[in-house]
């Protein structure tokens, strides 16, 4: 395996040209970032409203779980056949759109479910105190519920990003670019081809590294934005141990 990877890394096309690792990495980041960005824009406001009003929470979580049963590959080909016959434009759009839809369907449930759960888990005492202080509904939501729910929301975003980055490899089946291209192209050369096997292994390792890197970044972000009043990270001993909101990680599922 190691010698296969070394054989691939020594090729010229590995480092330069439009099939090189940097190009594929950027493509992969592009698909993942668009999908995650749109998923955040949809899932967080929706989750805040559902959690705050407590309407439709049960239905939302049931639907989010049911979406897991949809096979990513099936959805991808479904939307490609559906959309690419309708859009008559040059370029990647007829394939990019279906890929992004599939990634969205994967990303939205875990962010949405965690946002709803995060808001619902806010201690009623904190909410009552906020109302008692004369805060309006939106002040309660943004100044109390949202900060308290942040650890869970971010853990939902982390599992969504893991899933999106791992699943973005299927873009190569359509065929688009991204790190999945390395895997599929390597596979296409047959297992007898040393550099081909190396290309595939390199693609897989890069997907894993990218996913881990983004996950660590989001974990760092969580430390920056989550209030110390919730994490209990105080320098002063007297305040320690006051943390009540233990983040619960949503289930992550490989692609």
């Amino acid at each position: 395996m190691i010698d296969a990877i070394i054989a691939y890394l020594q090729l010229d096309k590995t480092w330069s040209g439009n099939r090189s690792i940097p190009v594929r990495l950027l493509e992969h980041l592009e698909y993942s970032a668009i999908a995650l960005g749109v998923a955040l824009l949809i899932a967080i406001p929706l989750g805040l409203v559902i959690g705050h009003t407590n309407r439709g929470a049960g239905v939302t979580i049931a639907v989010a779980n049911a979406l897991r049963a949809l096979p990513a590959f099936g959805m991808l080909f479904f939307f490609v056949v559906l959309i690419s016959s309708q859009i008559k434009v040059r370029g990647d759009l007829p394939y990019l759109l279906p890929t992004l839809i599939v990634l969205l369907v994967l990303a939205i449930p875990s962010i949405l479910a965690n946002t709803v759960a995060g808001i619902q888990n806010v201690s009623p005492a904190a909410r009552d105190a906020a109302v008692g202080m004369g805060m309006t509904g939106s002040q309660v939501l943004f100044k109390v519920e949202l900060p308290c729910a942040l650890p869970l929301i971010i853990s939902g975003v982390r599992s969504a990003s893991l899933q999106v980055i791992a699943t973005a490899t299927i873009a190569a089946a359509v065929p688009l670019g991204g790190l999945g291209r390395l895997i599929y192209d390597g596979l296409g050369q047959g297992l007898a081809n040393l550099a081909g096997v190396g290309q595939m292994a390199t693609g897989a390792i890069l997907v894993a590294l990218l996913a881990i890197g983004v996950d660590l970044m989001l974990a760092g972000l969580a430390k920056l934005v989550v209030s110390r009043g919730i994490t209990g990270r105080y320098k002063h001993k007297a305040f320690k141990g006051s943390s009540s909101n233990v983040p619960r990680k949503a289930e992550v599922v490989p692609s």
Partner: protein, 231 residues
Amino acid sequence: MGMMYAAAPQKNWDPWGYFMNNTDTVLDWLVSHIWLSIVPVVLGMIVALPLGYVARRFTWSYGPLITISSLLYTIPSIVLFVLAPQILGTKVLSPINVVVPLTLYTIALMVRVIADGLASVPEDVLQSATAMGYGRFQRLLKVELPIAVPVISAGLRVAVVSNVGMVTIATAIGLLQLGQLFTIGFQKPAFGMSPILLGIILCVILALILDGFIVLVTRLLTPWKRAVQPA
């Protein structure tokens, strides 16, 4: 292999018609899909139970075990499928190449779930059981595991349902199951939507049935949950 394109083109949005024209082939794929979905989960549970217990009993092992699990999840399944024959020394079309990676994913998910489930057993319950004379193994079997069932079953549902979807990716290494229907629809515009829709529908039905089965077994294993709820 040739027979899978044998039927005449049908209407584009007619999964039922496609099924009627290719019943035997589709049922074959469905049967192997069912096996590939269930076997890894059963094997994974057998390995994950002792591992989850270890992660709970020896708390220092919890961190490393969970880290390894989440690392495993970032590897796309297609890579494990393709590399399996090389690592395991199996034949290229052997179902083992799919069963082993999916078993690994199940283990990775369930170790944490089982450890957390065992951790959810209240301390006073453990002490009562010990006071009643249960040995460590008896207590695990008759007290801790039954109480952990709801948590474990929630994780198992995720494992099974996602497994059904992941099996379709085995199409990439030529192992036939429902995922074949997606490839046919994609490569043969004459068939179009019908096989793709049929594949999605069958996958979702299969996932719902397996999920429902776990919910049912969980209800049977946790009669006390209903006893305390108002009718």
